[in-house]
Structures are given as C-alpha cells and as structure tokens.
C-alpha cells in the first residue's frame, strides 16, 4: 500500500496499490470503516490479479472534493512548523505518545524485559 507514488515507483516493489491521500492515511480515513474496507479489498484484489511485476494500481478514492490540500505539502508555508520540529536534536531516547507509556515500558523492562521488542544493532543489544 502506498501514498507516495514516485517513491514506490523508484523502489519498484513486486506489486503495489496507490492511494492518493495525505501521508499518515495509507489505509484510509479515520473512523471511515466502509472506506477502509474498500481500500483493503482493493489491495487484496490487486494481490490476486496483478500479473505484471512492478505494477502500481491507483485506487479510485479521493481525499477531498478538491486537490487543494496537495499544494501545501512540504512547501514553505508548512515548513515553518516542520523546521521548528527539526531543530529539536534527534536523540536515541524513545519517544512515547503518553508519559504513562514510558512508565509501563520501564516496569516491563525491569520485570522480564521487552520480549516483543527486537533490537538488532550491536549498540542496542543490552536493552532487552
């Protein structure tokens, strides 16, 4: 599944479906179960029916009645906000959605380790 056509084209996956929605909605719209299901049914159908390797099938759903939203994506207007985010030094500290998540994770780690967390790099092997 993809919402970034040129990236998927460049990666050249065996098969793909393309959904022309903003990033962060690769599988549909929030709360719209009917659309999520249609998108997934189309995805499964593509798995079944694509014959030519490298095919990207465009799905027939629109994000909004106009495509005006596309003009602002990664363009200077929205960049002020994004650039501000970039100024935060990237660290190797886990970024939790809620503070309670951090506490839950640390309790878990102390108890019996995070068995469902798989770290692969030499510098991370102590984390388990």
């Amino acid at each position: 599944m993809s919402s970034a056509y040129s990236i998927t084209r460049s990666v050249n996956t065996p098969r793909a479906v393309y959904l022309d929605f903003p990033l962060g909605h690769t599988a549909g719209k929030p709360g719209d179960k009917a659309l999520q299901r249609k998108v997934m049914i189309d995805t499964l159908s593509a798995l079944d029916t694509i014959q030519v390797p490298g095919t990207i099938r465009t799905l027939p759903y629109r994000w909004a009645t106009t495509d005006a939203w596309k003009d602002k994506v990664m363009r200077p207007d929205s960049e002020k906000k994004k650039h501000a985010d970039d100024r935060v030094e990237r660290s190797t500290d886990p970024q939790y959605q809620f503070e309670g998540d951090r506490q839950a994770a640390e309790l878990n780690l102390a108890d019996n380790g995070c068995t469902d967390c798989i770290w692969l790099e030499p510098q991370d092997l102590g984390k388990q």
Binding site: M1, P30, T66, D124
Partner: protein, 177 residues
Amino acid sequence: MAKISLKEWYLQKHHMHSEPIDYIQRTFEQYARLGYPPYQWVNNPGEPPFVPLGKALRDARVGLVASGGIYRLGQVAFHYKDDCSFRLIPTTVKLNELRVTHFAYDLTDARADPNVVFPLETLRDLAELSRIGELSPHAYTFMGGIYSSRKVKEILAPAIADRLVKDRVDVVILVPV
C-alpha cells in the same frame, strides 16, 4: 455545493485525477531550500522479484508489516535517530493499547484511529468474513523514518522477512507512511 476551479471541474467531469504528489521532487526542493545535499532514494531498476500468490485469498495466511511508528502499551517506543528495531504486535491486540509516534507525518488521525496506518481491525473483519484465510498471529511494526537505506536493506528488512517466513505467511501487506 463545494466551490471548485474550472480545472477541477474538468478533471472530475472526465473522471481524471490530479497528479500524485511527487515526494521525491518535493523532498529535493525542500532540501535545496535548507541547503542540504539531495537525499539518495532507493532505486531498483529492472524487474522486481515476483511470485504469484498460488492459492485463493480465502485460504491464505496474511502478514502485516507497518512503518508508522506503532507500538503497544508496555513496549519501548521508537526513537527518531535511525531506529532499526521492530516490535511484535499480536493481531488480537485491543486497539486502545496501540500507540503511535513518528517525526515525519501528522499523527492526529493515526492516533484517533490506528487503522489508517495499521489496518488491523480491517483485516480482522475480512478474516471473519472469510475474504482471507487468516491473519498471522503477529504483525510487525517499525519506525519508518530511517535515513540509512543500507541499514534497512542489510539489517532490518532481512530480520522481519525471516520472521515472516517462520510464521508461514502466504502473503504480506506492507503499509508504509
């Protein structure tokens, strides 16, 4: 009635869609504005490997892999500095135990409804309806904002692929963000 431009009207009338956003081009422009050298995107020329499904979907075991920074309550979250780790998420998980953090996309809708970046309920429903045989017991998630494509190719992807083979899935749905 929504106000649309003449171009929009024309496209809709003729069932045409506007062009996909070219993220490679937009990233190039953004990096240029910020004074960075261009990002080296993965490019795989030639014909990709391709294996026909070989069985009906209603008999297939389906795997799910997502890169939107999804983790489960109790798990360590991802960090934003080329995190090459991944998480196992049981496909029976309660949706309210899912969390999402990522630096490269607006998380509002993913947090309101994780199915938009991690279509787990969608697939569970389709398994109920026998549109697919079954969902694999575990889904795999990782933090997609990894600048080093070498690390993904050499470390992360083979590790996930290995698990999927051991899970004996017939097909995998990859959901990037």
